[in-house]
Amino acid sequence: MQSSVSIQNLKLDYGTVSVLRDLNLEIGQGEFLVLLGSSGCGKSTLLNCIAGLLEPSDGSIYINGQNVTWAEPSRRGIGMVFQSYALYPQMTVEGNLSFGLKNIRMPKEEIRRRVARAADVLQIEPLLKRKPAALSGGQRQRVAIGRALVRDVDVFLFDEPLSNLDAKLRADLRVEIKRLHQKLRNTMIYVTHDQVEAMTLADRIAIMKGGVVMQLGSPNEIYNRPANKYVADFIGSPSMNFFETTLSRGAEPKVVLAGRDVPLATYGFVRKDFAGAVWFGIRPEHILTGEAAASAPVRFEVCAELVEPMGSEILVWSTLADTSIRFRLDGQEKVATGDMLRIGFDPARASIFDKAEELRV
């Protein structure tokens, strides 16, 4: 895959505060990359550097093989969509769409053609003569996407474009963005703090923390094989259960949980010879109950301490090996506080991290 955007040793400091530290990222042609991380981790800063709206302290940025580190935002072949929509309030929708084209003195005929095409793709033709104030949130964001669309750019940058919308619209527009990507096949870099958006949209996700990429991988990889405890904890809702225990390698590798051996012969080890103190992690949705628990490789009996019915499922809080754990039951199950439940899991689905560095074992 030829690289569309390439970020090399990018650093950005505000005085003594380091916001981006030595960041490297290769984004393929037509790829949908999501930058995911909690608020303040430097996602917007990175996106603004790519757009040319912030000057990096060090490092370089390439777009389509060109070094654009010092190029003006408008000369980078990027379009950007902002959380607050950032539509020009005094211009009509049509004015908003054509503003960037007028700035490069494009012939009127061509401007009209492009605006019409974008309006068609985004289905905003009836809105062309309106001012942004007369649009709903979803319509405004569509116009903002259109503004990037008319400029025929290679790379779309989105900075939390759906965060100001209500839940239903957000889901609708998310699907539309995905559809748009499948249609246009542009490179898209999408910043969000919402893991559902990240999982559903991304070809690859870069999870950021403190200006560093913690893991870069497909949604599947990130979910099933998190590279470190931070990622494991960050992805998934409710988040992963962690037990403190010790990994020993006798005849076969195992950990001990609540006095019982958990054999790890089926676990896909990354570090084949590691032994010692570890975090043993298992996702709530990978804890089996009822019939399935009976045939699980490892089984326990726990007491339901707190029950949270959510309609489609029931979240149960309990204690195992002196650790508070959560797991899910089908929404139709009958369970009350104080009930004893049989649970189990398959160690192959677990994630194990060493205690010192919290990296995957």
Binding site: P73, S84, Y88, Q90, G100
Partner: protein
């Protein structure tokens, strides 16, 4: 027991619906309106005296009560104040001063606002190197008493050959309006979402395009505020007008002073009053015409997309 109490309390309001009726002559209303009326009278009384006096002839003024309405209305004092009263050396009335004031105010207001709005825009949006230092200096400038700078400016104007000229006074007004106007515009532009500016840059707009196509149309209310502030301040200015101009270039305020404070001849109260009202007409009408816009501009905070 408790039930009965509640029920009897509610009995009288059994049919209550819609807004609760309020008595017109409540104690609260009497106090509020009383204070407002007294204050209004306090400010209106001098204006009333001025208007009635300016419409009386001198004999009537000498014998009469200053609050009495004119027995015989005459517009002669107004005509005299406008066209023939002596203001120092010239005896062509306030009309000359009115023209001078226009020639001073219009360019001063235009230039000071043009420069200050660009300043405010640059300071809040472009964050260039040294922007904060520059801004601090400007703010300090707003607090330096005018008296300190009077003489240095005389020297400066003399050196560049503008001392006594209208253009010299325009320059002084433009410079002195800068700190407060820049502050006004900077604060307004700071409330414009930064993402709007970023979007415009991605769209290939530069310093000028962003200013003229995006910021200027959005800032119209604050421009109205600035025009009102500057027009009244410059029109009412006396100090600079008296110091930095020659008699034939005196603004209206200085002429008015010369009329009212002249020590030769009898004091023509009616002409003085007419002259005073004439020189107040411009700021007054500006307030009356643009009062609503002014309030809207002052209240205009964040700009919604």
């Amino acid at each position: 027991m408790a039930d009965t109490v509640i029920r009897t309390q509610h009995a009288s309001h059994a049919h209550a619906a819609g807004p609760r009726p309020r008595p017109i002559f409540s104690r609260r209303n009497i106090i509020i309106y009383g204070v407002l009326i007294v204050l209004a009278l306090y400010y209106l009384l001098p204006i009333y005296v001025m208007v009635v006096t300016s419409l009386k002839g001198m004999p009537e003024i000498r014998v009469g009560n200053i609050f009495a309405p004119p027995v015989e209305i005459t517009f002669a004092p107004w005509v005299k104040a406008w066209s023939s009263v002596c203001t120092g050396l010239n005896c062509d009335g306030l009309s000359r001063g009115f023209l001078n004031s226009l020639k001073i105010t219009v360019p001063s207001v235009f230039f000071s606002i043009a420069v200050a709005s660009v300043n405010g825009y640059a300071l809040s949006m472009w964050r260039f190197k040294g922007a904060n230092v520059l801004f601090t200096i400007l703010i300090i400038g707003a607090f330096i008493p005018y008296q300190v700078m009077i003489y240095p400016i005389v020297v400066l104007l003399r050196e560049i050959g503008l001392y006594g000229e209208l253009s010299g006074l325009v320059l002084v007004h433009t410079v002195f309006g800068m700190p407060i106007l820049t502050l006004l515009f900077r604060n307004y532009f700071s409330s414009v979402p930064e993402e709007l500016f970023k979007a415009a840059r991605v769209d290939g707009a530069g310093f000028r395009t962003i200013y003229f196509k995006i910021m200027l149309p959005m800032a119209l209310p604050i421009f109205v505020v600035a025009v009102i502030l500057q027009t009244t301040a410059i029109w009412n200015d006396f100090l600079f007008g008296a110091i930095y101009t020659r008699p034939e270039n005196y603004p209206m305020t200085v002429q008015l002073n010369n009329i009212v404070n002249s020590v030769t001849g009898v004091k023509e109260y009616n002409v003085n009053m007419a002259a005073t009202l004439l020189s107040g007409i411009v700021p007054l009408s500006i307030y009356l015409i643009s009062g609503k816009l002014f309030v809207r501009g002052i209240a205009a905070g964040a700009v919604k997309g």
